[in-house]
Symmetry: C2
């Protein structure tokens, strides 16, 4: 029975997501101060926080930075609860009967200034209905070729997965490849990563440890990738190409992304949901 | 029985859409030569044509101009035929039994350089399954306030509607307001216009005449609006605001527009379908 210690589990999960939010924001602000790239005459960026409350219950913290390395990065946490509308109950595990839910999570989307720095996304969450589970993942969207970076990202994720379960990496990498795919263009959104959902192995501690590790690995691996690429010079053609490729990111998020569509349909916080959209985009 | 003279009707409709495509492209190219605005040092734009064929049958002509008045304008016609997949038959009038369809239409989307020139959209089409009907409409999306222009646009559309049926304007204006609405933001896409579908009054000649008149009225009314606004000076703040507002246009087209979603799901021509997306957009 999952009800034992459920309050404690929720508190542990929620406080981890907030701790990770602090860690990621601190790391990204540090990177801003280290910039020696083309835009290093600009001041280093700082996160600004906006809090919001959800009419149905709960709320969130949205931290956004528009910096000289990170053109637009959002690091959001939310802890919400309430009841799903009848329309959605059928599609959520354990919500069929009364539609009650509690959910906490962190969501990170990074659109760097430099076209040679890959864009990135990470999200982890703990959801409680009459069931409970973890979900999440992280993926990289290189603009200019970044084979080395993509390879490092996968090596790091695989090492973390392997520490927890030897099946996870293969399974969750494939899930990611299938999920982040633009069917209408027959092309992947980027270089992939891992994606998992409905994770409940009947061992909360193990699942929670894995989820925490995914978040920490993303932070360390991506910070290292940004440091390795952020001083690469770029020109107008690189930038134009970047803004066109970002169009694909918009197409994916508005046409396919379950979290985005779900949030918009269930009256979520528009600003927090659409924080993922890139700052400047072209469809020439 | 609609089968009488059906071949002739299809030919008449298809050749009108192509004639209107020629007229609109000629008018917009003329406007390009008349520019005395901020960008008039740039050369006047010209349309480039790309033809495409549809694997299932038929094809289209895509004419795109990136000019000094019209930052990005697409004037597309298509004449396609084939069979709807089983998945879609139920949702298309008269297609339930064998899924066979024939469709011709013209689609125009204009994103002007100058934030004081309203963006615009027009589409008219003739569709044949075991039934046949016309559909279409035109609408205006002002960026900076353009009450006079929006008023003129509505006056012109109303005059045209009233020539054909005294109920059309009220009915089709409301349909447009309801259709071009961003539910997730609780805001209209723009200043509206008219929208109609499934038009078959059992008088092909009357319905065709109305559909033609909608296209011609759009051409004349919008050309006049562009000429009245295109030399208005603008600054960086106007431009930034325009690019942010264009984000709403993208959100609408990828989240709600039936034509876009239908085209993407049925393997339409990606370039022609996404021609509607603005050239430069911001989500800051």
């Amino acid at each position: 029975m999952i009800m034992d210690n459920l309050i404690e589990k929720k508190e542990m999960a929620a406080s981890w997501f907030q701790e990770l939010q602090n860690q990621i924001c601190a790391e990204f602000e540090t990177i801003e101060t280290e910039d020696k790239g083309i835009l290093s005459d600009l001041p280093a960026g700082h996160f600004e926080e906006k809090s919001w409350t959800r009419p149905g219950g709960g709320g969130g913290s949205m931290r956004i930075m528009n910096g000289r390395v990170f053109e637009k990065v959002g690091v959001n946490t939310s802890i919400v609860h309430g009841e799903f509308s009848e329309e959605f109950r059928g599609s959520i595990a354990g919500a069929k009967e009364d539609g009650k839910f509690w959910a906490a999570g962190i969501s990170v989307v990074v659109h760097p200034q430099n076209p040679f720095v890959p864009a990135a996304h990470m999200n982890t969450r703990f959801i409680v209905t009459s069931k409970s589970w973890f979900g999440g993942g992280g993926d990289l969207t290189p603009i200019r070729p970044a084979e080395k970076q993509a390879e490092k990202f996968h090596v790091d994720l695989k090492a973390t997965c392997d520490k927890h379960n030897s099946d996870y990496y293969t399974k969750y990498k494939q899930w990611c490849d299938e999920y982040f795919y633009l069917k209408h263009r027959n092309e992947p959104r980027g270089a992939g990563g891992i994606f998992f959902d409905n994770l409940n192995s009947n061992n909360f501690d193990a699942d929670f440890a894995f989820t925490k590790d995914v978040g920490s690995t993303f932070k360390d691996s991506y910070a290292s990738i940004v440091r390795a690429t952020m001083n690469t010079p770029w020109n107008d053609a690189d930038r134009e190409y970047q803004e066109i490729r970002r169009g694909r990111y918009v197409e994916f998020n508005l046409l396919y992304d379950r979290g985005t569509l779900f949030g918009l349909k269930t009256g979520g916080n528009i600003e927090a949901i659409l924080m993922s959209l890139p700052p400047r985009v072209r469809w020439p």
